[in-house]
């Protein structure tokens, strides 16, 4: 049964190829249906794999399917294979599951787009690449998928490439990701140097034999790769701009799946991190800072998708905080619940944007719950989940992370707690601005004069169905890993064979855990209450400082640095390149040409001169031979 694991990525690949060949002929909506069918069948196969794995003994839940030897080069042998273990199947389950829902949603959202079939072609290619990433049995196959999702992300961010901002955002994402990819590659070089093998299972068993320096280098460079892909400080800048892409893309790639690849990678490298806990500390600090930083920026954003984008960065920071604290199960748990509620909220915001005729500014929304009841209710469930209100899913996973952070350091826990408060605050602000308060869209109706009487409308069922499913998952997703008894920690037991031996178990007593949970809940409720009094009751003026709205001017600093001193530096390098490197090459070329110009004069084209040359040459040779006594 498990040998069919290759089918999981093969089905979306088939969908991609079919759409490439007959996509434009299928048109709308059949090309979308084909892509959805492929994603759904891939999900079906993944479910089958899950049960096949579940039937085995926990310690035997590892299966490698090698398709062929990919690179046989000297002592470097890389197989093209897939690894089915609890971690990869967990990832594949939510990638294909949420992927299918978002495909379905996109059929409605992309209605009427001239490039309808191309959109689904990219989506299927993305799902294929993402599955390669999570299922690869060694780092290089993962890297192949890693680059694939980066490319698809680029294609899809700049999907509406006639819009200047979309084209620029795509480039920004691509270039920033390259920085991270470099880290991943260097980490692979180090791994091969030290172990002579890139297989994950080999790495897991032999990581303890690595020297401290090597392990630190591998972990650090892997983290640079992860920080690029998962939008951590200082490489987060591409993700807010990536919101230029169509909303289903934001939900699938920039919230639920691709951006969590970094967390997945670090979890795969748990054995290496186990050798060097210092790097874990670095990761935890970067994660906590990113979480806090992005949360502060999110409180002052007015674009409905920008709020969610910064929120995603913040939640990813949470996951890295967990990874750095050795709480891998909590990281994966939060990754899954986050995929549920963040995909839900992105799709919900897409539904709002759709209903508002492409309006994204929350200042022009309000009171939409009357007109879009299903979107509003599902969005509110997502809000409760992310804000950490019990018993919604986000509460349980966030609590696990905060518990892990407490075990690492109370300072990290405090940063996480403040972030939780801010998260509850800005999400409440968003929900009130969009679904409650005054209906501010009426005063802007004349801007949409073409529509006559402008009125937001609820989206079609094909967009609402995924929302309802995701809302259900976001509500009960916490059930995956309830912290009451060992028996209710389903996810922890499931992931035990992969990360169990590297997991850092906290020594907090049951009462202590309860106290931490209460603190987190109180923080959430304070955040909600403050936002409620500001935005609903309007008792206090809004706190939206300019500097936060501009993301602490981080982008501007980079731009002005790159435009000023940075540019001068690059110009010097460019000059050195033009003068030294190119100069040398050009000098050789020019000299060759000059010499040729002199020698070419000999070739007069007069046949009699050539004959004379041959004759005189023959005579001279003869004289030489005779005088030397050769003849």
């Amino acid at each position: 049964m498990l040998q069919m694991v290759w089918l999981i990525p093969a089905l979306p690949l088939l969908g991609f190829v079919l759409l490439l060949l007959v996509g434009p002929r299928l048109g709308e909506p059949n090309s979308g249906r084909l892509a959805t069918l492929m994603a759904a069948s891939s999900f079906g196969v993944t479910v089958a794999m899950f049960f096949a794995l579940l039937n085995r003994e926990p310690e035997e839940r590892e299966y490698v399917k090698t398709l062929f030897t990919w690179i046989p080069a000297g002592n470097l042998t890389v197989d093209f294979g897939f690894l089915a273990d609890p971690l990869s199947i967990t990832m594949a389950l939510f990638v294909t599951g949420i992927g299918t829902l978002i495909h379905l949603y996109a059929i409605g959202y992309m209605h009427g787009d001239p490039k309808f079939s191309k959109f689904f072609l990219y989506l299927n290619l993305f799902v294929f690449s993402m599955l390669m990433l999570v299922l690869g049995s060694n780092m290089l196959v993962t890297f192949l998928g890693w680059e694939g999702v980066g490319t698809c992300s680029y294609f899809l961010i700049s999907f509406w490439h006639t819009r200047d901002s979309a084209a620029t955002a795509g480039k920004k994402a691509f270039v920033t990701n390259r920085v991270g990819d470099w880290g991943f590659m260097v980490a692979m070089f180090f791994t091969f140097q030290a172990l002579g093998n890139l297989d994950y299972l080999h790495l897991k068993e032999n990581a303890h034999s690595l020297s401290n320096t090597t392990a630190a280098a591998i972990a650090l460079f892997l983290f640079i790769g992860a920080a690029g892909k998962s939008a951590q400080l200082p490489l987060y800048i591409w993700l807010p701009d990536a919101m230029e892409g169509p909303t289903p893309v934001s939900a699938l790639i920039h919230a639920a799946t691709m951006v969590t690849a970094g967390v997945f990678l670090m979890t795969r490298a748990a054995s290496v991190l186990h050798v060097v806990p210092e790097i874990g500390t670095v990761i935890a600090i970067v994660g906590a800072l990113t979480a806090l930083f992005a949360a502060t920026v999110a409180v002052a954003q007015n674009d409905i998708k920008k709020v969610l984008a910064y929120s995603t960065i913040s939640q990813l920071g949470y996951m890295f905080l967990a990874v750095g604290s050795g709480a891998y199960v909590a990281a994966i748990f939060h990754m899954v619940t986050h995929a549920f509620f963040k995909a839900l909220m992105f799709l919900g915001s897409g539904s709002v944007i759709h209903g508002m005729h492409n309006e994204q500014d929350m200042r022009r929304m309000g009171m939409l719950r009357k007109l879009m009841p299903v979107t509003a209710i599902t969005f509110i469930i997502g809000w409760l989940a992310i804000a950490g209100v019990p018993p919604f899913s986000g509460f349980w996973s966030k609590d696990e992370i905060l518990l892990g952070a407490w075990g690492k350091s109370p300072v990290l826990w405090a940063v996480g707690l403040v972030t939780a408060l801010l998260t509850a605050y800005y999400m409440t602000r968003q929900v009130i601005m969009v679904f409650f308060g005054d209906a501010r869209w009426e005063s802007h109706a004349e801007e949409h004069g073409a529509h006559g009487d402008f009125k937001p409308h609820e989206s079609p069922w094909i967009m609402l169905a995924p929302l309802v499913v995701l809302a259900g998952l976001a509500a009960v997703g916490g059930g995956l890993n309830l912290p009451f008894t060992h028996g209710t920690k389903l996810l922890e037991q499931w992931l035990e064979p992969v990360v169990g031996e590297f997991e850092h178990h906290s020594s907090v007593t049951a009462g202590g855990k309860f106290g931490l949970a209460i603190a987190a809940t109180v923080a959430s409720l304070i955040g909600i209450a403050v936002a409620y009094s500001i935005y609903e009751k309007k008792r206090r003026p809004a706190i939206e400082p300019e500097i936060l709205a501009r993301g602490w001017r981080y982008d501007e600093v980079i731009s002005s640095f790159m435009g000023g001193p940075g540019r001068k530096l690059f110009e010097v390098t460019a000059l050195a390149d033009a003068k030294v490197v190119d100069g040398l090459v050009n000098k050789i070329g020019n000299d060759t040409q000059d010499i040729g110009n002199i020698i070419r004069k000999i070739q007069t084209g007069y046949v009699r001169q050539y004959a004379a040359g041959i004759g005189i040459g023959a005579v001279l040779l003869l004289v030489w031979f005779v005088s030397r006594g050769v003849l």
Binding site: R600, Q603, G605, Y606, V607, R608, A611, G615
Partner: protein, 104 residues
Amino acid sequence: MLAVQTTPTWYLVLAAVVFAIGAVGVLIRRNPIIMFMCVELMLNAVNLSFVALSKALDDIAGQTVVFFVLVVAAAEVVVGLGIVVALLRRQPGATADDVATMKG
């Protein structure tokens, strides 16, 4: 009757003289047909020396080589005259120096 005995040296001197006439002709004349004839002179001077030495050394191989030279010369004339005809058709009265278009 002059009792002069012809020795191979005579033939070799004659061959050298004919070869020199041919070589100088190739170098100083510009008419392609004349140049061709001069090349033929050079080839036949060599043939003459081959035959003379073959007789003197009593070795038939020298005469065999002559046949090869004749065949090659015939082939060369065919190609050469073809070029000359094509050239003169294109540019009547052209000399060898007029076709120096392949100069560097």
